[in-house]
Amino acid sequence: MRQRSNIRFMSRQEVFGYVMLAVILLAIIPLSLDVFRLNLIGKYLTYAFVALGLVLCWGYGGILSLGQGVFFGLGGYCMAMFLKLEASDPESTKIQSTPGIPDFMDWNQITELPWWWEPFRQLPFALSAIVLLPTLFAFIIGVAMFKRRVGGVYFAIITQSIAAIMTILIIGQQGYTGGVNGITDLRTLLGWDIRSDSAKVILYYVCSAALFICLLLSQFIRYKKLGRILVAMRDREDRVRFSGYDVANFKIFVFCLSAMFSAIGGAMFTLQVGFMSPSFVGIVPSIEMVIYCAVGGRLSLLGAVYGTLLVNWAKTIFSETFPELWLFAMGALFIAVVMAFPNGLASLFKRYIEPKLPAWYSGKTMVSKAPIIEKDSSMETAHANALGSEENIGPSKSLAKPETAVTVAPRTDEKLEGGVYVD
């Protein structure tokens, strides 16, 4: 059982990558930006949670969900409900016809707090709801879909319609959800003013730390056997199935995990931005979040963070200077990322920057450079990246040997995923 113990949790490069990211997020950015920009970066980082989840579920699992906004929104709403109840104490809402309930309920002639809002007065409940509710929802969707072998484009479209349904529901039930305005004007967390500058800085660090935990958890999954099964499943689902694995369970797991990450991101978003609205639940934001992941590199955990930061930073800069051009740039980005560099920033880094780095960076693992020099290197580096360094994998033990994957399915991440499964 323990034969693969020679696999390291992280390669030297990865350790370097994580340290770099930590330095950038925890030192360079906070030291060089004012609180306003720092808060913006903090907001972007909350999207990185979603992008990270998508790397796991799309890049590794091959499941493209166009409804991640639903989970982001659920997480955010759970947080917002707690904060809103705290902000709606009878004292500050005394001008309402029913003091003590959120203002939008009062506007909608609701005279008592709905029962399902009640538990959100407790922070522990709210916190566990943030994590558990979206995960449970993802589990239900996952069981319904994957057990019936729905996949590929079908899954994408169905998650998209779920996003549409959620938006219509939230907007339609405005007495209970705040409708299209969302839940706004959130002020304090257990009496701590989350709008102050110092709170923004602290929340930024909390958000970065949470992101790191999620990153390390993902790294851990990738290094475990589970990660390999996921990749194998993405590349040759039937073979994994024939090997005796229940493919659906792995898909459900990774989908739930990505939902959980998104939800944590959503909760962090609510804390940092101070409101939550249905505009994150819909189709457009859900697809935009996919592009963050694609830009960073759908197989690169760290790439997801960089991709998210880059796209959002570009968006902010562009829309400040040329608002009209922003959509052109965004559209071009979508097309370019898909057509020119399907593995995003990560592959560019591997191909152009990494070879130029000094030897200490790659250390003694020179072998890992081998695929980089090869012709179709973007794919293979991606693959190597996916599986950890090549030398670390006992060839006889690996579930999906790189060679096999390369010969059988030359473009491994682009498997034809017809929704119709004929066994």
Binding site: V153, A156, S161, G172, F334, E414, V420
Partner: protein, 308 residues
């Protein structure tokens, strides 16, 4: 809830409600046909479908202006010219997009989904730059507006009939093209077995290109027709996109009959529910029903068995 109405009123309403459902059905079929052809044939989800429809609508808008200014005498018939032009413009753009983008993404359906989404953003902003951010109003010939009064209470909208006839016409056109023409034979051969079709001398690349073009062209006609019932603005295309996808996926990817059947199911359930519930709830329930059935039958209502 019906006690207050007479029997005659109820039958009239039943009739008109059925007719409203039929109009919605025609609208859905018209929207979905172009997408269904592309999805069924190439496995490509064209997220820019709505924008192609709006391109057709803008073409109609421009044509109406040209006719108003230069050929006012022929204004009554401009709509047919506009639809033909809408088809041609969208067909041309579709072929161009296939040539420049889609063919490189062969067998990567999820990636085409993202790339065409990017395309849709670019198209939206182009419309905004060219036509301005405001909606444009398309003037229709007098005869296409108003309604035909069958009885005192039953009035049938003429543009509804127009859409129905158009849908029938396009659907049968697609049927003949797919099942009665040489080209259709080639398309079906490529769907069933691409390498084999290539081996017997079918230019699969060309088949793909024209399929995509025709799909987009039909979207253009749909967009042109929808100027009668909907709005024309840079972002109007997004209003249609979710419904369209659901119809196609619900029907089963490779089946045109499936598309029609699913459009029928969705439209009837929606218009019936709308009558009894609020519009929002009707929409949510319809979507839930569709998603529910898709969970039970992921391949859609009608699925073509093909070898993978």
């Amino acid at each position: 809830m019906f006690e207050e109405y007479s029997m005659a009123e109820l039958t009239d309403i039943l009739f008109m409600q059925g007719f409203a459902g039929l109009i919605l059905f025609s609208v859905l079929v018209l929207m979905a046909l172009g997408l269904a052809i592309i999805f069924g044939q190439m496995g490509v989800i064209n997220m820019a479908h709505g924008e192609f429809m709006i391109l057709g609508a803008y073409t109609t808008y421009l044509t109406s202006h040209i006719f108003e200014t230069y050929l006012p005498a022929l204004f009554d018939g401009y709509f047919f010219v506009a639809m033909a032009l809408a088809f041609l413009v969208c067909f041309a753009l579709g072929v161009l997009v296939e040539w420049g983008m889609i063919r490189f993404l062969f067998k990567r359906p999820l990636d085409t989904l993202l790339a065409t989404w990017g395309l849709s953003l670019i198209l939206q902003q182009s419309y905004r730059t060219v036509f301005g951010a405001r909606e444009v109003g398309v003037t229709l010939p007098e005869w296409m507006m108003g309604s035909y009064a069958m009885t005192e209470t039953i009035e049938v909208p003429i543009n509804g009939i127009f859409v129905m006839v158009l849908t029938l016409f396009i659907a049968s056109g697609v049927y003949f093209l797919m099942f009665r023409s040489l080209w259709g034979k080639q398309v079906r051969a490529v769907v069933q077995n691409r390498p084999m079709a290539g081996a017997v001398g079918i230019d699969t690349g060309k088949v793909d290109r024209y399929t995509f073009g025709i799909g987009c062209g039909i979207a253009g006609i749909a967009g042109s027709a929808f100027t009668m019932i909907g709005s024309t603005g840079p972002t109007s295309g997004q209003l249609y996109i979710v419904d369209t996808f659901l119809v196609v996926v619900f029907g089963g990817a490779q089946s045109l009959i499936g598309t029609i059947a699913s459009a029928f199911t969705i439209s009837q359930s929606q218009s019936t529910l709308e009558f009894f519930l609020s519009g929002s709830m009707a929409k949510v329930i319809t979507l839930l029903i569709v998603v529910g059935i898709l969970m039970l039958r992921p391949q859609g209502l009608f699925a073509l068995k093909i070898r993978q």
